[in-house]
């Protein structure tokens, strides 16, 4: 999830920033509405009926908090095998259909799209074609440009190709977008550390 607004921000009264966030969330309708839906579905909450998908939900800061604090498993990341990914994707799609028949949601469906590309990237990588894998990841980035995990994957490929400077910047980019995903940030730091160690060694 891309959001990383801290709770303190949201509790502040009359602050311009919180106003921005609230308004943005409120009217950035479809996407946000569905994010909540997914959160709700996956967390087993019973709040979905309050937020019909087609209209802008009224969002109090408490609710925003809820959505933001909880890591939203929009989809799992790819290091798993392709089969598991597919299952995960289908599960989500079914969940969504139950909630809003006939109207698929941006986040989930896009994720399946990105999953398909990640799958393609893995296959290319396994066939020893890292550059084609990178091209597939770039395609995915055009669809979800702020997906920190995609940037991380690209960093890993560049690292393995020996393009250390790129790997370092890509890992930093991933971390800049990773918000509260500490695990991912940790992995990015490892890449950056390794690059820096190499640099020191080369000197």
């Amino acid at each position: 999830m891309k959001a990383s607004v801290r709770s303190s921000n949201l509790n502040a009264q009359g602050g311009l920033m919180s106003l921005f966030v609230a308004v943005r969330l409120a009217v950035n309708d479809i996407k946000t509405g569905y994010l909540f839906l997914i959160v709700a579905v996956l967390a087993g909450c019973a709040t979905t009926s309050e937020m019909p998908p087609m209209q802008a939900p009224v969002i109090t800061s408490a609710k925003i908090d809820d959505a933001i604090r909880r890591p939203v498993p929009v989809y799992e990341f790819p290091e798993r095998d392709a089969e598991a990914e597919q299952d995960a994707g289908q599960g989500e799609a079914q969940g969504i259909e139950l909630q809003s028949p006939g109207y698929s949601n941006n986040s989930t469906s896009t994720s399946r799209t990105v999953l398909a590309l990640l799958d393609q990237a893995s296959k290319q990588e396994n066939m020893g074609r890292p550059e084609r894998a990178a091209a597939a990841l770039e395609r995915a980035l055009r669809i979800e440009p702020k997906n920190a995990r995609l940037w991380h994957r690209l960093a890993v490929i560049r690292f393995e190709q020996g393009q250390y400077v790129q790997a370092e910047s890509l890992a930093a980019k991933s971390s800049a977008l990773a918000a509260g995903d500490w695990h991912l940030k940790q992995k990015n730091s490892e890449i950056i550390q390794q690059v820096q160690q190499r640099r020191a060694y080369l000197r």
Binding site: R24, Y103, S104, T110, R132, L141, P145
Partner: protein, 774 residues
């Protein structure tokens, strides 16, 4: 002649003296030698023609392929427009690749297969529904499976032309529809696969037919002879020419396989004229007349092209509809008679209209500014001659939808602005660039108020004073020292005098000619105050600001003169796009790209231009500057964007106006896109426009009609939000009415709390609760 025969002649015909015979012999030998030399010459010229012409194909430049997936933002009309651009045929029952049907918001499309750099994309029948400008469902049309992603074939946006005026779309044997080969052979040269270059049978048949008709109704030329004729375009019909053609036809057949000759024929034959551009080959003719690839032509379309072989101008389907129709139907009839098509197919083919596109697509590219950029980026890696002869396939980042919307916005606004001012409407010029933020891909480019006109490309070459667009670099340099400056720091906006390099004194002024006393830093940027900016800039130091500038991506040398602080620096819209891109991307610099990959004519990967990024600035100060630019859009110099765009958009922007209103600039980003617009006069006369009253309007209209994928931003880890009293720059206290929440690098926020409820003044944060007790 052999010796024996000579002797024989001597015996029988004594009258012929030896000396005479010698002359005859010599003449004979010379003639034979001359003839052989001539044949060798013909052989050389025909072979060089054959080899050379076959591969002289300009590079073809593609737009980005449209990626379709559930959740993709696109309107039904935009999608249909894309299909039309790609020459998909609208038909109630789509049967083959390149057909589609639209029913309101629902589409049934059979995509074409295409080879991309990373992988081939197979033709897929898809059912797709769009609602509220989003693709909501996308399924496989026959098996109903969910489709996560389908990539359309990319539109051709132009070719890189050689200096001469021939154009070609290379077609290889595999791409040639079998029906075309059959039709050509049946109509033009039935014995093609059996003759040796010339066909006596055909000549005789033609001779008899012409005799019967009392004029030339049939030609006896084989396909090989026609090919030779096309190599040496000249219309003289002499016996000598025919003789040459025949010899060269025999030579061609001797050297090359039938398939090679057929391929060359299909790529060479003359099929029309587009101004100065000759249309050679079925591949280009297919694009020229039907606006789609050869392999996607229907029966009647193949028949029409074959019909035109006999005389492309005489049977021109655009000029002589009846004539072309009659001959096309004749070809269809022959195909039916020979069992190539069924009775029904023939009937429906004959019943169809000619189906040629209304206006011939001009050979001149429709997007000259973007093509100019592509050419420049390619020239770093390729020689000019390779670009216009090797038939390379260039894949670009060009987005036709973004380009179209940018053009619409720019043309409309520039016309309005030109008229409503004192300036002569026709002189107001413009340029715009839109790029995607994270990938640094150039989506659109306009080089002048007439986007079709391939003249001066202002987006790349109009190097003009950037006015206040320079300010974010000044503020970024300051904010990179959190211990010294924050968004809440009060800076002095009172009048000042600067000593210039040449000893002159310079007194900058604010746009409103007022000074604003002490102002919080974020307000000075949001309202683009000159006095406080000049003072701040002198304080952080010009060399430091230039360093920031370089990091942001300016390659041009910038002199450390104080006047640079207020925008005396001259840059092109392209360079501004690079600078603001680095800001928008959070301090990660990506050289802006127009090209993603280059493939050979045969679809083999040649080169890829991958996404590359470099972290050049710390993310936190960049976040702070961007935040101030958001306030500029919300309440400051850029606030007019919200007259057009929805309030919930988060837009960061900066206006720029040069001295005497000569240049009107606007740079802004929202969601995943960044746009830069410039307006001004080529002769540098004042336009009467500020950044806000000119370029901003174009920008807002553009962004109002393109997909900007708004998303929640990511806040750097070490940023905290704190309520600040805008009047004092201190923490907002009880009763403060002018509070604003601002981001701070952790630890840099002011400690003091503003006391708004009482008689004013401040108190230490720690004592706040204490005071409240009383």
């Amino acid at each position: 002649m052999t010796r024996r025969s000579k002797r024989k002649r001597k015996k029988t015909r004594r009258i012929l003296s030896w000396s005479r015979l010698r002359w005859v012999l010599l003449a004979g030998v010379l003639l034979t030698a001359g003839f052989i030399a001539y044949v060798v010459y013909l052989d050389y010229s025909i072979r060089s023609q054959f080899e050379g012409k076959r591969w002289s194909i300009p590079a073809r430049v593609y737009a980005r392929p449209l990626e379709l997936y559930p959740g993709k933002q696109i309107s039904a009309d935009q999608f249909e427009n894309e299909l039309i651009v790609l020459a998909y045929r609208k038909t109630k029952k789509p049967k083959r690749a390149g057909h589609y049907w639209r029913d309101g918001q629902h589409f049934y499309v059979i995509t074409r297969d295409f080879i991309f750099w990373d992988s081939p994309e197979a033709s897929t029948p898809i059912r797709l529904s769009i609602r509220d400008n989003y693709v909501v469902t996308m399924d496989h049309a026959t098996n109903g499976e969910f489709l996560p992603l389908v990539r359309m074939d990319p539109a051709t946006i132009g070719r890189i032309w050689p200096s001469h005026t021939e154009d070609r779309v290379l077609v290889q044997v595999d791409d040639i529809p079998p029906l075309l080969t059959q039709a050509l052979i049946l109509v033009e040269d039935r014995h093609f696969f059996s003759h040796k270059g010339i066909s006596l049978r055909s000549i005789l048949r033609a001779f008899l037919a012409n005799l019967r008709a009392g004029g030339t109704v049939q030609g006896g030329s084989t396909l090989t002879q026609q090919l030779v004729k096309n190599f040496f375009l000249s219309n003289e019909r002499t016996l000598w020419r025919k003789f040459n053609e025949a010899i060269m036809a025999l030579l061609l057949e001797y050297h090359y396989e039938k398939q090679e000759i057929l391929e060359a024929y299909i790529n060479e034959i003359y099929l029309g004229q587009d101004g100065r551009r000759a249309i050679h080959g079925f591949g280009l003719a297919s694009q020229f007349y039907f606006d789609k690839p050869l392999k996607n032509l229907d029966i009647q379309e193949v028949a029409l092209l074959v019909a035109m072989v006999k005389g492309a101008s005489y049977y021109s389907p655009r000029r002589y509809v009846k004539r072309a129709m009659d001959r096309r139907n004749l070809v269809i009839e022959i195909l039916k008679e020979q069992g190539e098509i069924s009775e029904n197919e023939a009937l429906s083919a004959k019943a169809s209209g000619l189906g040629v596109t209304q206006r011939a697509k001009s050979g001149v590219t429709s997007y000259p500014a973007f093509m100019d950029l592509v050419r420049r980026q390619l020239q770093r890696d390729y020689r000019e001659q390779d670009l216009n002869s090797e038939g390379l396939q260039i894949f670009t980042t060009f987005d036709p939808i973004v380009q179209t919307e940018s053009e619409k916005a720019l043309i409309k606004r520039v016309d309005q602005l030109g008229k409503s001012r004192d300036t002569e409407a026709s002189k107001l010029q413009a340029a715009s660039v839109v790029v995607s933020i994270e990938s640094g891909e150039v989506l659109s480019m306009i080089g002048g108020r007439n986007p079709r006109f391939a003249g001066f490309n202002r987006a790349l070459d109009a190097v003009r004073p950037i006015g206040s667009l320079v300010k974010p670099a000044v503020y970024l340099t300051a904010l990179s020292r959190p211990e010294q400056y924050t968004l809440a720091s009060l800076i002095d906006d009172s009048p000042l005098t600067l000593k210039l390099e040449n000893g002159d004194e310079w007194m900058p002024e604010n746009f409103d000619k007022q000074s604003h006393g002490l102002v919080p830093l974020y307000q000075a940027l949001a309202n683009s105050y000159n006095l406080s900016t000049a003072r701040l800039g002198m304080d952080v130091g010009l060399p430091e600001i230039i360093k920031t500038f370089k990091r942001l991506g300016v390659e041009r040398e910038v002199k450390p003169y104080p006047s640079m602080l207020l925008g005396a620096v001259a840059l092109s819209p392209w360079e501004i796009a690079q600078v603001y891109h680095t800001l928008a991307a959070g301090g990660f610099r990506t050289p802006l790209r127009a090209i993603t990959a280059v493939l050979t004519a045969k679809g083999e990967p040649l080169q890829r231009y991958p996404l590359s990024i470099q972290q050049v600035l710390d993310t936190s100060p960049v976040y702070l500057v961007n935040y101030a630019m958001r306030i500029a859009a919300r309440n400051g110099t850029g606030r007019a964007v919200y007259n057009v765009l929805p309030q919930q958009w988060v837009i960061a922007s900066k206006t720029g106006t040069s001295n005497d209103l000569r240049d009107s600039w606007f740079a802004g980003f929202a969601g995943d896109k960044l746009g830069v617009v410039w307006l001004g006069m080529d002769n540098n006369e004042p336009t009467g426009l500020t950044g806000a009253s000119g370029a901003l309007r174009v920008w807002a209209d553009t962004f109002n009609n393109i997909d900007v994928a708004l998303s929640l931003e990511s806040v750097p880890q070490n940023i905290e939000m704190i309520d600040i009293d805008a009047l004092t720059g201190l923490r907002g206290g009880f009763g403060c009415t002018e509070n604003i929440e601002l981001p701070f690098i952790i630890g840099s926020a002011p400690d003091d709390v503003s006391r708004c409820s009482g008689s004013g003044g401040t108190m230490k944060k720690g004592f706040n609760w204490f005071k409240e007790l009383f």
